[in-house]
Symmetry: C2
Amino acid sequence: MFSALACATGTRARRGTLTTAHNVIATPVFMPVGTRGTVRTQTLPQLEALGAPMLLANTYHLMGRPGIELFERLGGLHRWMGWGGSILTDSGGFQVFSLATSRTIDDDGAVFQDVADGPRLVLTPERSIAMQRAIGSDVMMVFDHCVDATSSHDDTRLAMERTHRWARRSLAARGDSPGKLFAIVQGGRFAELRRASAVELVGIDGFDGYAIGGLAVGEERAEREDITELVTELLPVDRPRYLMGVGTPLDILEAVHRGVDLFDCILPTALAQHGRAFTQAGKLDLRKGLHRFVDTPLDPTCPCEACTRHSRSYLHHLVKTREPLGWQLLAHHNLRFYVRMMSDIRDAIANDTFVAYRAALREILATEE
Amino acid sequence: MFSALACATGTRARRGTLTTAHNVIATPVFMPVGTRGTVRTQTLPQLEALGAPMLLANTYHLMGRPGIELFERLGGLHRWMGWGGSILTDSGGFQVFSLATSRTIDDDGAVFQDVADGPRLVLTPERSIAMQRAIGSDVMMVFDHCVDATSSHDDTRLAMERTHRWARRSLAARGDSPGKLFAIVQGGRFAELRRASAVELVGIDGFDGYAIGGLAVGEERAEREDITELVTELLPVDRPRYLMGVGTPLDILEAVHRGVDLFDCILPTALAQHGRAFTQAGKLDLRKGLHRFVDTPLDPTCPCEACTRHSRSYLHHLVKTREPLGWQLLAHHNLRFYVRMMSDIRDAIANDTFVAYRAALREILATEE
C-alpha cells in the first residue's frame, strides 16, 4: 500500500505512492485541513481545482457535531461532504493537548467538558477508532496523549508510555476496518524518549504507517528538525511517515529533506484570513497600502482563480473591507501554492535535483515584502 | 434604450428590454447587491452562474474605499471587479437616510463624518455623478434626499423639493457620459407629494428612467404598494421604473404587478447569513434540528451548486458550525431563487399567464416551515 519509488542524492527525501480505497496518492503530499468536514471557505469546485488527493478531518470536532449517529445513518464523511478523494483523520489526541484546560485524562481516556452543543465528550482509543470507522476514514490515527514542548521529562515519558498502550488498544479496536491505521511517535523534545517511542511502535506488528506527533507545539525549529530526523531514521522505509500539523512551506521542505511523506497544516487558510499570501516571489501582506493601485496578479505564475481573475488591487480592497471573498480567494491561492510546491518537490526528487531545488526554494521562502 | 415588449391581462406587469453599453437586459429584472464592488460571499464564477445581467454598486461606499482615484487610474469598476454585465449605481442618497446620525445636510449636499478610512466624505449632486462616471456606471442615479417613513409632511416636502433641485444639478453634471441617468421620485408616505414629485420629474427632459425611492424604510406593506401604484401610473410607459431596495419575493411580485421593472435587495445574501433559504416549497430555516438527517437537496428543482452538490443535512451542519461556506452556499441559492423567479415572471407576462402565476406564487411564498 506504500512504495518508496525514488530517493534523491544528498538527502533523505523520497518519492512514493500511498494507495487507499479512493485513490493513489503521490508522496510527499500536503493535506488541506477540513476539521469539521469542510476546508474553511472553500467550495467543492474550488477544492477539486486544487488537485489535492487527500484531506484531513478531525475526530474530536466531528464527534461533537454532527456526531457519530449521522455518519452511521448517512454513510460516512466522503459522501456527506461530497469529496471523492481520500480522507485522513486525526484521532482527537491533539485536542488532549490543545484543550488541556477543559479535559481530564487517565489511562482509560480523556473526558472533555464545555463541548459545543453537548455537556461532555469522552474519547478513548476504542471510541476514537469507532468514530474514525463511522467517518469512513482512509487513514486513521491511534488515539494518543500529546503534551506540550515545555513538559518535564517525567510527564513526557508518562504520556509517551500511555500513547504506546493506547496504540495497542487502537490496533485491537481497528477490527476488520478497511481503513489504514498509523501509530504516533511521541516523546516531546527528549531525543532518547523519541528513540524509545519509535523503536517500541515499530516493534508492534500491524501499523500501516507512522506519524510524528507532539511537534509544532512550542519547540524551536532546530529542535523540531533534529527530532524529525532522528525519528525518521528509525522508521521502516516501506511505510509512510506523517509529520502532524507541520507547517510553514520551509518546515515542510526541511521535513521532506529528512524523509517525511505526509503533511497537514491550517496555515494556508489561517494566514489568508489575515491577508497573507505565499507567492513564487515571496510572501505578501495584502493589507498593505502598497498594493492599492497594483493592477497585476498576486502571482503571475499561478493558475488559481485569485490569480487569473483578480488583481492585487482588488484583493487588497477585499481584505481591507473584510469581505468574505477576500479570505476565500487568498485561502484558495495559498492552498494551491502548497499543492504546487509538493508537486515541484516530487518532481525534484524524481529528477534527482532536490538538493538544488531545496536551496532555491529556501531563498524564495526567506523573501517577505 | 427601453422597450416595453408585452403587457399581460388584468395587471400592469410588463415585459421589456433595457439596453446598456454592456448587454441587453430582459425586464422585470433583479439586481444582486454588490455594495463594495463584490456581491458578498460570491465568487466571480458563482456570480456568472446566476445569470443576473446587472449588479448594483454603491457610490457612497466605493467613494470611501477604494476611492475615486482608483477608478480614474485603473479604468472603472467593471474591469476592476471582473464583471462583464451591467452595473447600476446608487447615488449615495440612501446613506443620507441610513447614516442620518453621522451626517449634516444642506442645499449644497451632505457631509458624512466617521467614515471608514477617512475623516469625512462630501457628497453633492456633482460629486456623486463624478464618482458614478469614474465607476463607469451603466445606469446612474441622481443624488437625492431620502427621509424615513415617520417624517412629517413638512420635512418630507422639503426633502422632496431638494431632491428635485438635485435632480436638475445631477442632469447638468452628467455631461457627455455614456451612462444612463434615472431620476428618483420621493415624497414619503404622502400621496399628493408622491404625485407632485412624479409629475415634476417627468416634466424635466433628459432622464432615461425613474426610480421610486424612500420606500422599504419603515412603512406598512399596503402603504408601499399603494404608493408604488400611484407613482407608476404617472410615469411614462417608454421608460424603465426601478423600485429601490425592495424587497422580499412577495414585495417584488406585487410591485411587478403594479408596473415596476427593476429591483435590488440585500435579502438573499443577508438572510443566508442567518441560515434562511427560499425554495419552491416555501422558506426554510436551516438552523433547525429537523434538517439534521435530511439527505435530500434544499430544493430538488434548483440547479444551483448548493442544491446539486449538497444535502440539507450538510448545509444544516455548515450553518450550525458557522462555517463561511454555509453562508456562501445559501446566498448563492437565494440569489438563484430570485433570478429564477424573475425569469418565471417574464415568461408569465409574455405568455399572458401572469395573473395565475401571481396567485400560485403568493401561495408558495406564504409557506414557511
